[in-house]
């Protein structure tokens, strides 16, 4: 079941792009354009998480947060361009769960969302991805094929995760490296090749051959 994220942000371009970003990462989103009846909409739609801009026309993110907290414990992430400590203190005291300054680092934003959701809704985690008969188990960091499992290192898990998420599409080396960096795994180009080869060996070991295909000069794909 997809998790719904509510975006409360007044800049239309950022709002749309956040929409796109979250949707392409597997979340359902709702992003109101007017803020007069935002509270009612939240009550009606019951999102799993709220992204709340502090600076809003006509009202303040803080007062909205206080209102939301009267009826819900939904995780709230404050986003703002100010990063004075008063703001941070206020957001914590008013019941916000996290605080991110603009410009966002996308990877960090997504990571915070994921970790807050995990904490708030531990049961609902999507722990595996499948493709071509293979199941990628995220929790146990392993790959399963026709009943056999093989263990994966952190790097290998993340590389496969990226390939699985973009299954069928060509993933350039640069994009894979960037994805790993976003997850605090700072591999370089050579290390990537080494990792890919190691994965291929492991997969061959459980009978999964030609799973990762190399597209000459373009990248890898499943």
């Amino acid at each position: 079941m997809k998790q719904k994220i509510f975006i409360i942000e007044d800049d239309p371009l950022i709002r749309n792009e956040l929409n796109t970003l979250l949707q392409s990462n597997g979340y359902e989103t709702a992003a109101p354009e007017l803020f007069s009846n935002v509270i009612d909409r939240i009550k009606a739609e019951q999102p799993h998480l709220i992204l709340l801009d502090i600076k809003l026309p006509g009202t303040s993110g803080f007062s909205l947060c206080t209102q939301i907290r009267t009826f819900s414990d939904v995780p709230i992430i404050f986003v703002t361009s100010c990063n004075t400590d008063m703001d941070e203190l206020n957001s914590i005291m008013l019941g916000g769960d996290a605080f991110i300054t603009k410009p966002y680092n996308m990877a960090i934003l997504l990571a915070k969302i994921a970790s807050l959701l995990k904490r708030a809704y531990p049961a609902q985690q999507n722990e595996q991805l499948t493709y071509g008969g293979a199941i990628l188990h995220l929790e146990s960091s392993s790959l399963e094929y026709e009943g056999q499992r093989v263990e994966l290192t952190k790097n290998e898990l993340k590389i496969l995760y990226y390939l699985f998420r973009n299954a069928g599409k060509i993933c350039s080396r640069g994009d894979i490296v960037e994805f790993l960096w976003d997850n605090q795994l700072y591999v370089d180009d050579n290390a990537l090749s080494v990792n890919i080869n190691r994965i291929r060996e492991k997969l061959a070991g459980i009978g999964l051959k030609d799973f990762i295909k190399t597209k000459h000069r373009q990248g890898y794909t499943l």
Binding site: E17, T20, D85, T101, E178, Y186
Partner: protein, 256 residues
């Protein structure tokens, strides 16, 4: 106070005295006074005038020295007219009034300049906050619609962001006590954040990253530490050698 000049200023008075003394002497001799009587008068005159002048000089010198010392001790010397007492001499009082008028007009100038500077600084801070919105928008656009040039654009955006951060922290560095809050923070958090802030710069320049496990927490202001790390990383890349390696060892050692 310049002693030589003081006495030079007294020259007309002394000369007048000398002329009068000579005239009196001649007159006394003419009307038939004895040498000893004339000498007595002259000596008495000289003694009285000398003592009087000497005392006046000593007093004046002390007064001037006191004023000079007072001024020397003030850190804001232009406030001397507020600190010193009203002088007794008539001419001194005129100078005192002039000092006061000059001081007042300068204080007004200074506070005007200070106010203008503060206003400008606040404008800059406001501007920096505003500019973060379009930077965020551009970043998001690039991330969501990747093409073959978005990486280059994201690199330039990183640079743009770095410059605005620099400006912000420069403005705030003048009164850090209002902006600094020491809290417990995880080292690894701030290091990874700083690396993420410079992701494209590091990737583009082929910097090899070695980040060790950091379990420690320290007490500091996270924003400022992150800013400093950002500066260090940017400089490290700028002045790098052929095979740049950025090494973040665990606590106790420095970033190389």
């Amino acid at each position: 106070m310049n002693g030589k000049l003081y006495w030079k200023n007294r020259l007309p008075f002394l000369l007048t005295n000398l002329v009068c003394m000579i005239a009196l002497t001649v007159f006394l001799f003419v009307i038939g006074n004895s040498l000893s009587a004339v000498l007595l008068i002259l000596i008495a005159w000289i003694v009285i005038v000398s003592v009087g002048l000497g005392f006046t000089y000593w007093k004046r010198k002390r007064q001037m020295q006191r004023l000079l010392d007072m001024t020397g001790q003030l850190s804001e010397r232009y406030l001397i007219s507020e600190v010193m007492e009203l002088p007794e001499q008539a001419e001194d009082q005129v100078y005192y009034r002039i000092l006061k008028m000059a001081g007042k007009s300068m204080l007004e100038q200074i506070s005007e300049v200070k106010r203008e500077r503060l206003e400008y600084k606040e404008y800059i801070e406001q501007w920096i906050h505003e500019i973060k919105t379009p930077i965020t928008a551009m970043k998001l656009l690039c991330e969501n619609h990747r093409t073959d040039w978005t990486k280059e654009l994201l690199l330039e955006l990183e640079k743009t962001n770095r410059f605005t951060e620099q400006a912000l922290y420069y403005a705030r560095s003048e009164h850090t006590e209002k902006d600094y809050s020491v809290r417990e923070m995880a080292l690894s958090n701030v290091v990874h954040q700083a690396i993420a802030d410079n992701k494209y710069l590091l990737l583009q320049n082929g910097v090899h990253l070695k980040v060790e496990e950091m379990q420690d927490t320290v007490y500091s202001d996270e924003k400022w530490v992150r800013f400093i790390l950002n500066q260090l990383i940017a400089n490290a890349v700028k002045y790098r050698s052929e095979q740049p390696v950025l090494h973040f060892p665990p606590a106790g050692s420095r970033i190389r």
